[in-house]
């Protein structure tokens, strides 16, 4: 756990362990079934997860690494040529000759050797000056904005959770670690699955009949009303979900992982992606960045852990998945420009984000905040709205409707080499072009000409057209073309094999939202 624990009021408050919608579908299913047949006659539940869906041909994977506590961006991506840096930081300043030079007047913190290597390969994007509108230096407020993807009070679901709401597989979103699922992976209708660090999961070992009948009984607690209110129902649903998923994820725990912390979590994340259960978003996190004092040693240790975890993660990743996987880091805020007198730094504002992956368009993005024109409280000013980064990731990497998910249209960055699906490389030089759906395929429209007749059709993979800005993208052909059979009951849906794709039901809105409202001081 965090050595510097001032971190996050927020984190735990913003975490909720989850349930999966699979459990809810089971509840509906069992209720329907109970009306027509005896429970004993139900088909076996095990192994459903295997049908949950492997990765589609054009699907991409996003791994989110949360650097909890507020990373000191200024000592991570160091402006070595800027005299104001030395002035602000004094003895905390890292001398230019100790940094790992990356050009443009910047050097990486000496702990980040793997990142430097990937930078040289052109696989690392650094987005300068990313921040939100929180101005109270509260871990909680800032994290809430980062997690919801909104600076507007009142949004109580996570930005990736809303993306995952649209996906059928119960394993689409996963959070690794013994803590709960954080808010950014909780949608309006569904939540991610939480995977612990240790395996030998209850529900995974199907070899003994005396165990199997107990697993089934635990699942049946979710079959109807618990008679104890929504929390009782949720207990049952979560347990059923744990048994649903145990068997399919158990392989990630072998062989035993000797490491601890972020490295262990990232190894599990790599194995999970390699298993190909349809995982689209993985969350991992670690803390220790709230460096109010003893910063040099603590910050170096945290960054070394990050660097090592990234190296091991990419090393362990199946090459077939590697090009489809991007790692994104975020932290609730950067730290104040001026060092404090405890050999540390206090809560600040804007900071840098890293993107790492084979398809990442390496280099600097956005504008570095001025070190001489600071905010009123002496913080680095935000130059890139965090929602621009999210919009870019949703559009260009996950091929989702960013504007709908974020509730607004934010400027896009150019963080990825290929913004099209199916491995179609789009030359950065023509990236400003717009894409429209015409005559049954996507075509690129030159930005200088919007005359349909003048466009040049660019062949794209018909199985998965690119999805860019929300307002210009029509309904996905995928949605339109597939005929969805209409089962007359949940029981029939189950028999038709539809239950897992019909499973994103609205969760019972138990106290959590009220809890968040209280914390966010909302009406």
């Amino acid at each position: 756990m965090s050595r510097h624990s001032d971190f996050t009021t927020a984190y735990q408050a913003l975490c909720q362990p989850i349930t999966s919608s699979q459990a809810l579908s089971r509840r509906r299913f069992l209720q329907a079934a109970a009306a027509t047949a005896s429970v004993a006659a139900l088909p076996p539940m095990m192994g459903e997860m295997a049908e949950a869906g492997a990765l589609g041909a054009n699907d991409r994977i996003l791994v989110v690494v949360m650097m909890g506590g507020g990373n000191d961006s200024l000592n991570t991506v160091i402006p070595t040529n800027n005299p104001a840096y030395q002035d602000h930081r004094g003895s905390l300043a890292i001398p230019g000759n100790q940094t790992l030079p990356i050009g443009g007047g910047f050097g990486l913190h000496p702990s980040l050797t793997y990142l430097k290597q990937r930078w040289n390969d052109g696989d690392v994007a650094i987005v300068h000056g990313v921040g939100n509108l929180a101005d109270d230096h509260s871990h909680f407020t800032s994290l809430a904005q980062w997690m919801t993807g909104s600076s507007t009070p009142g949004v109580l679901s996570g930005w990736l959770g809303r993306y995952l709401d649209g996906l059928p597989s119960v394993m689409s979103g996963v959070s690794v670690g013994d803590q709960g699922v954080p808010l950014h992976l909780i949608g309006d209708n569904s939540m991610a699955v939480g995977l612990p660090r240790r395996g030998d999961l209850f529900g995974a070992d199907l070899t003994n009949a005396f165990e199997r009948i107990v697993y089934e009984s635990v699942q049946q607690y979710a079959g109807g009303s618990s008679g104890k209110g929504p929390l009782g129902d949720l207990i049952a649903d979560v347990q059923a979900a744990s048994i649903d998923t145990a068997q399919s994820v158990e392989p990630i725990y072998t062989p035993t992982i000797a490491q601890d912390g972020l490295v262990a979590d990232m190894k599990l994340a790599a194995r999970l992606i390699n298993l190909n259960l349809g995982v689209r978003v993985v969350n991992v996190g670690f803390t220790g960045f709230d460096t109010h004092d003893d910063q040099p040693e603590d910050h170096a240790a945290c960054l070394r852990e990050l660097d090592m975890a990234l190296q091991i993660f990419f090393n362990d990743l199946n090459p077939a998945r590697r090009a489809r996987t991007t790692v994104m880091t975020f932290s609730e805020f950067g730290r104040r420009a001026e060092a404090n007198d405890s050999n540390g730094t206090d809560h600040g504002a804007a900071g840098a984000m890293f993107f790492v992956g084979d398809e990442v368009r390496g280099g600097f993005h956005g504008e570095h905040p001025s070190l001489t024109r600071l905010t009123e409280r002496g913080d680095l000013a935000t130059t890139v709205d965090f929602r621009s980064v999210y919009a870019t990731v949703l559009d260009q990497w996950l091929h989702a409707d960013a504007n709908q998910i974020l509730g607004g249209n934010y400027e896009r960055l150019r963080l990825f080499r290929a913004t099209g699906a199916g491995g179609v490389q789009i030359d950065p030089g023509v990236q400003e072009q717009q894409v429209v759906w015409q005559n049954g395929q996507w075509v690129v429209v030159s930005s200088s000409s919007v005359e349909p007749d003048a466009v040049t059709a660019v062949p794209v993979d018909p199985t998965g057209p690119p999805r860019r800005g929300g307002e210009m993208a029509p309904a996905r052909p995928l949605d339109a073309d597939i005929t969805v059979p209409t089962p007359s009951s949940d029981l029939e849906a189950y028999r038709m094999g539809l239950i897992s794709s019909d499973s994103r039901l609205r969760r019972p809105d138990v106290g959590r939202r009220d809890h968040l409202r209280q914390l966010l001081n909302l009406p």
């Binding site: 009021t9 735990q12 909720q16 349930t19 709960g180 979900a241």
Partner: protein, 440 residues
């Protein structure tokens, strides 16, 4: 009106971390609410303090922490003053500190004992003492908060988390509060057997205190640390403070959603008894809403409550290392909160990850049941008989129809596939995974 057995069990689930034993439930059933509550509070105020945990030969803060975790859960279950332990548990989650940062179990245990000795006393006095114990001075860095080099960490959390909540102060108040707490530091380098060791204790370094005029909550004066706590508790912020603490206690003891009107009335009550915590708890436990159906099973057992209840009801043996290990898997280790805000509650404990942690505890301990003499001789019993025995063992006084049906159907299935031998260990596991048992 005399308490029914179910009502006595409800009361005990809320005032004992591990719920009530059969003997305790029988002791309070048939008594009046007032009589039962008064006895519980009186015990908590008068019982002698527990002996120090045994750290002989351990030699590291981590080992001492583990031993103390095991010791504390015994205290929770065996103390003659269970409400005092419940309050210590509450305050540990409120005025959080972490062994990992302080790295000195003596200091943590000193704070832990404060939560016992003062946890039901006057709230202002509790905050005053908590603020200047080395555990908190170190944890939130006030030990390095000095004039001209202010440290805002403690100042911010004193308001945001400990007394009034986020909406009731400004950034300017944080700056003023940090200045007010300058100079409240630690000292303690001492020579022991020829080597220098840091044995921190509180000191006020007047030369490092900022004596300037500061504007806090709109009042300009030469604020000094303890004076700010008096101002919060009895001055400008007394309404916000009393409501903030009373509401949190209500959510801990009764249900998660007190109405605004109820919070106002609880705050009023708290002020009327001069912030005496025991009197507020008495008011809460005797409140009609505490006894209403809406409060019954309205909370989820936290991992510590789940473990303590399993131990108390069944007597399964788990040593201190094992307790820590299981708690880690369920997501909650005492002295290791996720951060200064403490642990979440209720649905925060409901994830697949923590569900696997709870099941693991039961899987590993189920083989002790037969040796302990529990749930024996059920191989030929019918489903209802097995269910009743499980409910008795686990203290489930009001099982739902569904839970009974699930256990009954499972017994039928066990007979059908001829694994009756597994009924003893598995009935325990299945019963403890029921929503009925996991709710508080």
């Amino acid at each position: 009106m005399p308490l029914s057995e179910a009502e006595a069990a409800h009361l005990l689930r809320r005032v004992c971390v591990g719920g009530g034993s059969d003997a305790e439930i029988a002791h309070f059933a048939g008594r009046s609410r007032t009589s039962a509550v008064n006895e519980i509070i009186n015990d908590a105020l008068t019982a002698p303090m527990p002996p120090h945990p045994n750290w002989n030969g351990l030699g590291s803060p981590w080992a001492e922490e583990t031993a103390t975790i095991g010791w504390w859960i015994d205290q929770m279950n065996e103390s003659a003053a269970p409400l005092r332990e419940k309050m210590a548990w509450f305050w540990h989650g409120h005025f959080c500190t972490e062994e990992d940062k302080i790295y000195n179990m003596n200091l943590i245990f000193e704070q832990n004992q404060l939560f016992r000795s003062a946890g039901l006393g006057n709230f202002r006095d509790l905050v005053q003492t908590m603020a200047i114990q080395p555990a908190m001075l170190i944890y939130l860095d006030n030990e390095t908060n000095t004039k001209g080099a202010e440290q805002e960490n403690f100042a911010r959390e004193l308001m945001e988390l400990f007394t009034i909540g986020r909406e009731n102060y400004t950034e300017a108040d944080v700056i003023a509060m940090a200045k007010a707490w300058t100079g409240h530091n630690t000292v303690g380098w001492v020579e022991v057997n020829g080597t220098w060791q840091y044995v921190p204790h509180y000191t006020f370094k007047s030369e490092l205190h900022d004596n300037s005029q500061k504007t806090l909550f709109g009042k300009t004066r030469n604020w000094n640390g303890p004076g700010t706590i008096n101002e919060i508790c009895n001055g400008a912020k007394k309404v916000q403070c009393s409501e903030f603490i009373a509401a949190k206690l209500w959510r801990f003891f009764v249900h998660p959603d007190p109405s605004p009107a109820l919070v106002r009335s609880l705050g009023q009550r708290f002020r009327a008894v001069n912030l005496n915590i025991a009197e507020l708890i008495r008011h809460i436990l005797l409140h009609n809403e505490f006894w209403a159906p809406s409060a019954r099973y309205a909370l989820v057992k936290s991992p510590v409550e789940f473990l303590a209840t399993v131990l108390k009801r069944t007597g399964v043996e788990i040593d201190a290392n094992g307790r820590r290990w299981y708690l880690q898997g369920m997501g909650q280790v005492p002295f290791d909160p996720p951060d200064v805000a403490g642990w979440g509650a209720n649905e925060d404990w409901l994830s697949t990850a923590t569900a696997w942690g709870r099941a693991r505890l039961l899987e590993h301990t189920r083989w002790q049941l037969d040796d302990l003499g529990h749930l024996r001789n059920l191989e030929n019993a019918g489903g209802n008989v097995v269910a009743n025995r499980v409910f008795e063992l686990l203290g489930i006084t009001e099982p739902s129809a569904q839970t009974r049906a699930v256990i009954r159907d499972w017994v039928d299935e066990a007979h059908a596939i001829r694994v009756q031998w597994s009924i003893t260990p598995q009935a325990y596991l299945l019963g403890a995974l029921s929503p009925d048992f996991q709710l508080n």
